[in-house]
Symmetry: C2
Subunit: 288 residues, 2 copies
């Protein structure tokens, strides 16, 4: 029998990320009790039947009890509230962590309320897909992907090390980032592209002949709007939680789009070719 | 030996599309002589060595001579000029066709100059990738994809039937579309997404910390900007050739983006969720 790294880890919210994490932890056989909490009874039954979790309950108190680590894997908009609910329920020394795509606002708010006998450390596994829910959970979801730990000056070394250990069990590569750098990076490379994909779908839907247009969606639009199939509930909360960066990124994007539109309007082939060449070269060299 | 459908088909421009077409035609064994024309001697040598073509030359006159069909597979910006150059070189009854991603302007200009003893019919195989050049040619590129024939009121039935026969040899599905409908459809589902992808790359490149941003490009940005790796020469010409529709599409897209940005700025979760839900549902239902 493998040496256990943890006695009990509770995962709150058995969606794509929470379900995949619980499943991968259970498969690692390094956690004695992977406990799943979800508001939906059927999800818990499914998770038990599929051996994604060892135990499950709709009651967060049962999940919190005796857990060394509690991972909040709910929607971004529910994380702070959930952390506050957990505070009176967990034992001394428990580490609460999350998997939210936005960190600044969440980490600051939780650090503002967490008592000294507990710990909070934010995290973000870069491993989503456009699918959601436990039915899409996959114990290999995190293999070879990257996990961003976002410690602050308040984070104890031992806390960082425990959360890193937890995520290493599921095969993910650990990185560290400042909370604001995190929100800036993902505001540009993830939240902005999502806002654009939804806008592109919305623009085509606004046209009278949208069904004809969609009928020839081909490669371009299909790839382009894949992320627009993602959960609208989740993404509405992410875009608002990272409001400042997302709005700044949209602003910068519109400047670039206007520059390209102006070159098209002026039929300035040289200018357009120059802008597109630079973008194309960078895409080949910098986006791996 | 298979019955031949054509004695000689000339393909002008052995890039990704021209090279793949020539190769697929040669493999079909239904064309006696697949003749390749390119400005680059090495490309012709490569095409001969790989048995992509039966004969090749840098001289368009040699390609034109005795060809029943001449396929112009150059960049969009060179198609009209090439058609004009071919007119004095081809035999009576020859059908000139093209593979350009924009049709309205090109078809109108060529129909305006083509003499009554020759024929022109526009076409557009929906089969590009972000890669270009003969090194990426693939005889199976067109299998299961769609080909848009764009006849006008001037197009003789027999001409339409001959071009359809040619493309059927390479396993593509034939559709017909009015030239202006074609440009509208592809302006929205292909040209607009390309303009957006280049703008997104340009926007991130404008940031001082763009290298940090690209370092976490992950799934969203990578998928999103795949098309921005496409040939900038080709795409500059396409965007300008379909100027009116592309600018109208950009305008509509900006209205949608502004609507989303406003909901974010107002932290109007209900409004944002409504816009995103509609886009998300349509992406799942309408984009196959």
């Amino acid at each position: 029998m493998k040496r256990k790294a943890f006695n009990k880890v509770a995962v709150i919210g058995l969606g794509l990320i929470g379900g995949s994490l619980a499943w991968a932890l259970k498969r690692s056989r390094r956690v004695r009790n992977v406990f799943g909490v979800d508001t939906d009874e059927e999800t818990i039954e499914y998770a038990l039947k599929k051996q994604i979790i060892d135990e499950g309950s709709r009651d967060i108190a049962k999940g919190a009890q005796g857990a060394e680590i509690v991972v909040i894997a709910t929607h971004v908009g529910a994380i702070v509230k959930m952390a506050k609910s957990l505070i009176p329920l967990v034992s001394e020394g428990t580490i609460i962590t999350d998997v939210g795509s936005v960190k600044g606002k969440i980490v600051r708010e939780i650090e503002g309320v967490i008592p000294p006998h507990l710990h909070f450390l934010g995290g973000h596994p870069i491993a989503g897909t456009e699918n959601s829910g436990i039915a899409n959970a996959d114990p290999k979801l995190f293999k070879g992907r990257r996990f961003i730990l976002t410690p602050t000056e308040k984070t104890a070394l031992v806390v960082k090390s425990r959360i890193a250990t937890l995520w290493e069990l599921v095969g993910i590569e650990i990185h560290e980032m400042d909370i604001d750098v995190h929100d800036r990076v993902f505001g540009f490379v993830s939240h902005l592209p999502h806002a654009i994909a939804y806008s592109l779908m919305d623009a085509i839907l606004s046209e009278d002949d949208s069904d004809t247009l969609f009928n020839f969606a081909g490669g371009g639009l299909r790839d382009y709007t894949r992320v627009a199939a993602s959960s609208p509930e989740m993404w509405s909360e992410i875009l608002i939680a990272n409001k400042e960066t997302v709005l700044a990124a949209i602003k910068q994007f519109k400047i670039s789009l206007d520059k390209i539109a102006a070159a098209i309007a002026d039929e300035d082939l040289d200018m357009l070719r120059e802008i597109l060449s630079k973008a194309s070269r960078s895409r080949r060299e910098k986006v791996k």
